[in-house]
Assembly symmetry: C2
Homo-oligomer: 332 residues x 2
């Protein structure tokens, strides 16, 4: 574990409740910038599509079902519920700040949010639809057809535009102004002494080797179980499934810790529900460290300061189906 | 069919595109008044509870799952999907303007929204939870505990308060300012000639005998299949299940026609998806009338003017569970 001297210096100062001359730029965690909206019409369209269960075979499951924006962009379930109540193979990662991930899904098999967005629609275990049928539904609804034209500057509804619009909406789902970001910005009162101590421990213990950057994660793939193997019933093999390399076995995208208080349960298998357990396990499995109860509590207290402002928007009203819209098949 | 002379007079005038000296007060349909909020804290709490899937055993189903406020307060499915993807026995009625109903559920078995709200939570085929477990979940979340205290003026979380808060939120779910209401208010240009003709037909044909008042329904129980029997696979028997009287067999609460363009599919069994079919069937089964294609189209055009302003509010952000919160059991 190598880290710049300046960080060690800064963290030592933090223990005394002061950053001295250090600035946010010296920290391994950077603030979340607010959303920048370049195409408001695409964002609005994407928001509707994100909430529209008609993109599923059943007419019951939308993007928001498993990446629920009332609940930290997750479903807060160990693994998700798909069409006909199928049990998903992996924990649903949060959509919040997901544009900062180096790739999407736990195994990184989608290079970006646009590439990700088409996956669940056509996955037989999730929304169980087809792209062709989803487009047929949207094309039967004049209000949607008009919105696509407005958002893209020309007529036409296709899966490329659907996923572009959903990704444009998801790009706006950032959570700035957490207490930690205020502290990074120079507001010394934003963290308590225990929280600041937790951050210092988070840095000094090496957590920041993987959990760094604005998203406090999402920037690399890492082996789950470095020092000690992780015990799990999950069959997920991580990056190896994408690269075909045995060396990538159990390498998973490092999850963001932004809003981690809201994104339980944890790990790719969703097997742990409390931050106390997770901090303990990460110390042992990844770093070979055993945190004392006080240290653990301080790190947990720090992690809870990463909860930012949740995206604020009006619940979208979806344009109704028409006589020509193919009907959902929830029980077929 | 008896109706006041003044209405016949008004509808005759409507055919010429003018109400002359008649006023909205003479019409069998009245405008929807805007929502009045008396306890904003209760409404805000109720909104969160309405969107909270932790009131279900699975942690996946909320009030909004089947009464989706993005989709006219319904799920737009023939019958709803319950815990473990169970198929519901009846079409989910809209929550919009439901406070105007003389009773709740198709068979009226709940006297008001508060009495209704507890039903689905504990119904094994719907949210499959118990009231006691739902309260245990809420009590484990300090932010909820504080909100209950604020909303009710004293500490305590119980099912009576949960359903009171949900009903307070639902009371706000009204849809004023439809084009038809603007027309009722004197804006003659709000309806096209065909739409006005459709309204005249709706009155002259006797539809208003049941579909009247601000909600254009919801004010009485009526036999489904008066002139001719309604053919259905549904086993629902309606009001008879509540009163035990054979005379009430197949008597259902007349559904509101407000926002009917958004609340497909139709009837208690959700068997019909288009307003064209429904107008045709209602004419034949309830009134012994066969509408011409033009008449049918005019009535459908009128019905679509009943779509009002949908409730506008920010998607609520739910307080996260804690280490003490009982965990959902989606697959147990």
């Amino acid at each position: 574990m190598t880290r710049p001297i300046s960080l060690l210096f800064a963290s030592a100062l933090l223990l005394t409740g002061s950053m001295g001359g250090a600035t946010a730029a010296d920290e391994p965690i950077q603030p979340i910038p607010p959303a920048k909206i370049t195409n408001a019409a695409q964002v609005e369209l994407g928001k509707k599509l994100y909430f529209d269960p008609r993109l599923s075979k059943s007419g019951f499951i939308s993007c928001n079902s498993c990446h629920n924006l009332s609940m930290g962009g997750t479903d807060n379930l160990q693994t998700s519920i798909g069409d006909h109540w199928q049990q998903g193979p992996i924990n649903a990662p949060t959509v919040l700040n997901s544009k900062m991930n180096l790739a999407q899904f736990w195994d990184g098999r989608a290079k970006d949010l646009k590439a990700q967005a088409g996956g669940p629609i056509a996955n037989p275990g999730e929304m169980a639809f087809t792209h062709a049928l989803a487009i047929e539904v949207l094309e039967s609804i004049p209000a949607y057809v008009a919105e696509f034209e407005k958002a893209f500057g020309s007529a036409g509804v296709d899966i490329d535009r659907v996923t572009t619009a959903i990704a444009a909406f998801e790009d706006t789902l950032v959570t700035p102004n957490s207490r930690f970001d205020k502290w990074l910005g120079g507001d010394r009162a934003a963290l308590s002494a225990v929280e600041a101590k937790g951050y210092a421990l988070f840095k000094d213990s090496g957590c920041v080797a993987c959990h760094n950057g604005p998203a406090v994660g999402g920037a690399s793939f890492q082996k789950m179980g470095v020092v000690e193997a992780y015990k799990t019933d999950s069959k997920a093999i991580g990056l190896a499934g994408v690269t075909g390399k045995d060396a990538d076995r159990l390498n998973f995208k490092v999850p963001t810790l932004r809003n981690v208080e809201m994104t339980y349960p944890y790990f790719h298998d969703g097997a742990y529900w409390t931050l106390t357990e997770v901090v303990d396990l990460m110390g042992k499995l990844q770093l070979g460290k055993t945190f004392s109860a006080d240290e653990n509590a301080a790190i947990v207290a720090f992690l809870k300061t990463l909860t930012g402002e949740q995206p604020k928007f009006e619940l979208p009203v979806l344009p109704p189906s028409t006589d020509k819209t193919p009907r959902p098949k929830p029980f077929g």
